[in-house]
């Protein structure tokens, strides 16, 4: 005969409570008791849906099985009524407790293929055109209140942006350097134009090493500090690579503009580009080291910006010849004429 309950004995849990088996993640509402928030959505795109207060579901069905999980490290300042709009508000939403837990759970749900399958690497390229444009725009306009990683990347770090921005930058620097040298030495009879193809491989080594090894070192450093000091915000390796990749985008127009053979113009461009991308990096990584020792935090940020400056100045010095203020004379001067010129000056 039919009619036996599918669960086999006991009461059926209400659909709103976590025991119905359809929940993942912790709540962000600070009411002392955690609520369950279920996530659902097709193809890995997860959107939160609230199923109501834990208190109300408890009163509705007092026999229902519910699970109470306290947020570890929940500090008393996160009470209802705490002032919003301060800089700490971002950290509330960036909390390593629930947000990184959520993203870890999300990451576990998304990247579930083993690393030797093709699908695993496809998850790193799961971006649409408008998303890439949004991220590039966000890297060009770093606004103090907005964290680049939180706004643009937190859901979905990609490798498309970093890889192709670096590739474009390599060729932009090599080609612009070549063009600029050609234009500077244009009138000289002794100059024979060469394409300088060897510099492409040097540029590629420099740019790709910077874009991958520095994030690796920074990630290792942040992990090490995290083990000593409980930091609120922590980034995964891919997110750091993403930030560095998109922060290099400003150097593409800068490299093209470096063709202009004026020293002052070039240094102004260096300052502007360093200002924009340096501030992007500093604002991204400041929340990750803020909890640490003051000196360590400052030293980290200064090192990040210094390395960035080293990259841009180094590329400028190596690939672009210095524009001479006065060109060499187009006709080779005889020794008599040079001596006469020296005597008269």
């Amino acid at each position: 005969g039919g009619g036996a309950p599918p669960g086999g004995g006991g009461e059926v849990p209400p659909p709103g409570s976590p025991a119905s088996g359809n929940w993942a993640g912790l709540d962000r509402n600070r009411r002392g008791a955690t609520e369950a928030r279920a996530f659902s959505g097709p193809g890995g795109r997860l959107t939160p849906r609230e199923f109501g207060n834990a208190a109300t579901s408890l009163t509705a069905n007092p026999d229902a099985t519910t699970v109470n999980i306290e947020d570890p490290g929940e500090t008393p300042k996160h009470q209802p009524g705490s002032p919003r709009g301060s800089g700490r508000e971002e950290d509330d939403e960036l909390l390593g407790n629930d947000d990184s837990d959520k993203t870890e759970l999300l990451a576990g749900q998304k990247k579930s293929s083993p690393f030797w399958t093709f699908e695993y690497y496809q998850t790193f390229f799961d971006v649409d055109t408008y998303q890439v444009f949004d991220r590039i725009k966000g890297s060009l306009l770093p606004i103090p209140g907005k964290n680049f990683v939180r706004l643009y990347i937190r859901s979905n770090p990609d490798l498309y942006g970093p890889f192709w921005i670096c590739a474009t930058l390599v060729f932009a620097i090599a080609i612009s350097g070549n063009l600029s040298n050609f234009l500077i030495h244009l009138g000289e009879k002794t100059y024979h134009y060469v394409p300088e193809f060897r510099k492409v491989s040097i540029a590629a080594t420099i740019i790709y090493a910077y874009a991958w090894l520095v994030p690796l070192a920074l990630w290792g450093f942040l992990m090490w500090r995290n083990s000593k000091v409980m930091n609120i915000v922590s980034y995964s390796f891919l997110e750091i690579v993403c930030v560095y990749g998109y922060s290099l985008f400003i150097y593409i127009p800068t490299a093209i503009l470096w063709i202009i053979p004026q020293k002052a113009v070039r240094w102004i461009l260096v300052m502007i580009a360093l200002g924009i991308s340096g501030s992007l990096l500093a604002m991204t990584f400041w929340p990750a080291v803020r909890e640490d020792n003051r000196r360590v935090a400052l030293a980290t940020i200064v090192t990040i910006v210094l390395l960035h400056m080293l990259l841009s100045v180094g590329c400028l010095a190596y690939f672009f010849d210095a524009p001479e203020m006065d060109h060499l004379p187009t006709t080779t001067a005889t020794p008599n004429q040079t001596v006469a010129a020296a005597k008269s000056s």
């Binding site: 093709f118 690497y121 496809q122 790193f124 390229f125 971006v127 649409d128 055109t129 408008y130 890439v132 498309y160 192709w164 590739a167 474009t168 060729f171 080609i175 070549n178 024979h192 134009y193 060469v194 394409p195 300088e196 193809f197 060897r198 510099k199």
Partner: protein, 236 residues
Amino acid sequence: MAEAEESPGDPGTASPRPLFAGLSDISISQDIPVEGEITIPMRSRIREFDSSTLNESVRNTIMRDLKAVGKKFMHVLYPRKSNTLLRDWDLWGPLILCVTLALMLQRDSADSEKDGGPQFAEVFVIVWFGAVTITLNSKLLGGNISFFQSLCVLGYCILPLTVAMLICRLVLLADPGPVNFMVRLFVVIVMFAWSIVASTAFLADSQPPNRRALAVYPVFLFYFVISWMILTFTPQ
């Protein structure tokens, strides 16, 4: 074990009978004859196919492959929406074009200057690794084109740039000057646009629509770099 449903006419039966209950009673060797004749139709024709391409003369084989390559060249030069490049892909054409381009672009081996144009191996590596990277990129973005089809299309669409290289070489035989440069620049730009249009016509359909620009941009970068190498070629 499969259980037979209780028939409604027997409310009193307590235990259901298993299906195929009486099957073990059947003795196969005696009751069901299993013998006969199997004939393969068209047996003689299969043998014909096997030897048809193996026994033909070498000239036939080469001409057939050359004709296929030539047909694809025509498709690249007059790009229409057709599937020929994708359906019958081959890598002969890209190889011929790449070797021709690299041979024409390489600098003199007796060159004393350290920084010059690319070597043969550098051009070869750039073309093939560039094509492989673009193919991997389009597959990772979710395109449904196969690996070798994409390599085939990218390789064949270098044809306009190879033609540009030939023209530039001829133009360089004249005396150098700004006019010379302008002519070469114009030719390279036109051929670059032609390559982009041809490859986009074949490749764009295989991408999901919201990522088309992401997949086409690396193709643009690839042909731009090759055009740059052609434009800056200076004979020693």
